[in-house]
Subunit: 200 residues, 2 copies
């Protein structure tokens, strides 16, 4: 017996393809959408339809943008001599939210993961090397995640950029703000000791 109407089942099926959303959550979301006015579902649908056609990659830093170059690359008030290398556009948003970075970006669109067949050619490494080779970059700040693939990607980039006449930096690794030292894991604490800075 078809208890779930086909139109509802189709939406549940599509929603459950999203990351972190299983069939149960998808069902809950779909039933909630159905209970609300049709206009809200139509608006959500319209924003989905417009998404890919409105957004492209910035040809300079490869972030998602509606213009090319993106607002950051086009901003004369930002310092194009510093390039912050991140894995994904979401990481750029996180860095921007801090308000403490005024340089440009370079989005790799992934991390090196040989087991998944992702080598340097699959992510925007060549484009980064070209930007550095052009001579316009004075500092490359590597801001990949502090995970195994993130660290591996950072090591690879450091290796490739070793000979370039630039300053090569990485995000500091240490105790998160507001954290009680006794709850910090030993690897983080070791990194914090290793990277200790002079107090005044």
């Amino acid at each position: 017996m078809q208890v779930v109407p086909p139109a509802l089942d189709r939406l549940i099926e599509n929603l459950s393809r999203l990351p972190g959303i299983g069939r149960k959550t998808a069902t809950r979301l779909a039933l909630n959408i159905l209970r609300r006015p049709a206009a809200q579902a139509i608006e959500l649908a319209a924003s989905l339809t417009a998404l890919h056609s409105a957004i492209q990659l910035c040809s300079c830093c490869f972030t998602f943008s509606e213009s090319d170059p993106c607002a950051i690359c086009a901003d004369p008030k930002r310092n194009g001599e510093i390039v912050c290398v991140v894995e994904q556009p979401g990481d750029l948003m996180a860095v921007e939210k801090t308000g403490s970075y005024r340089g440009h970006y370079h989005i790799l669109h992934g991390v090196l993961s040989p087991l998944d067949g992702i080598g340097p050619e699959e992510i925007k490494v060549r484009e980064l090397l070209a930007r550095v080779a052009s001579g316009a970059v004075r500092e490359v700040l590597i801001a990949t995640s502090s995970t195994v693939p993130g660290e591996a990607t950072a090591s690879y980039l450091i290796d490739r950029l070793q000979g370039a006449p630039i300053l090569l930096t990485r995000l500091a690794c240490g105790i998160p703000m507001g954290m009680d030292i006794k709850y910090a894991d030993k690897h983080t604490l070791a990194k914090a000791i290793e990277g200790r800075a002079t107090a005044r």
Copy 2:
């Protein structure tokens, strides 16, 4: 500075209106949708657009259905003399999944909640009383949730149906299958003792 492209921001805004999805999860979902082929976003949009126009309420049991009456109400193999009263269409799906109920349903579309201004007129109580008054129903199984508003709704329905020449039943309340008795909360255990059944 507009770091999030407007088209992406619009989708994030719309996604974060869904229940249990905050701005952070909405951003993660939207970026994931953007990274995948446009065809998947279009298909999700199409299923959202088609939803409300394809689905209506069954005029007999008020579940979501593409046909009227719904597949359950129209099925001659099901026993229309028993009506299971549930809060929402999702509850009907849960009961159907057990495979151990072969009667009809009645969806209230809510529970009594005086503080939110939801009285008997706001949910499908009148329609249930009319179904019972028509004489076609022999048993009403009240299957509202075992929550405070669910119990209040059940009490109200029992009160209104007291005089009707029908069998009035409720779901059994007790220890969940597979649960260790020492971890059962005292209210559930008390209910299980109260509702104990003769063994063989």
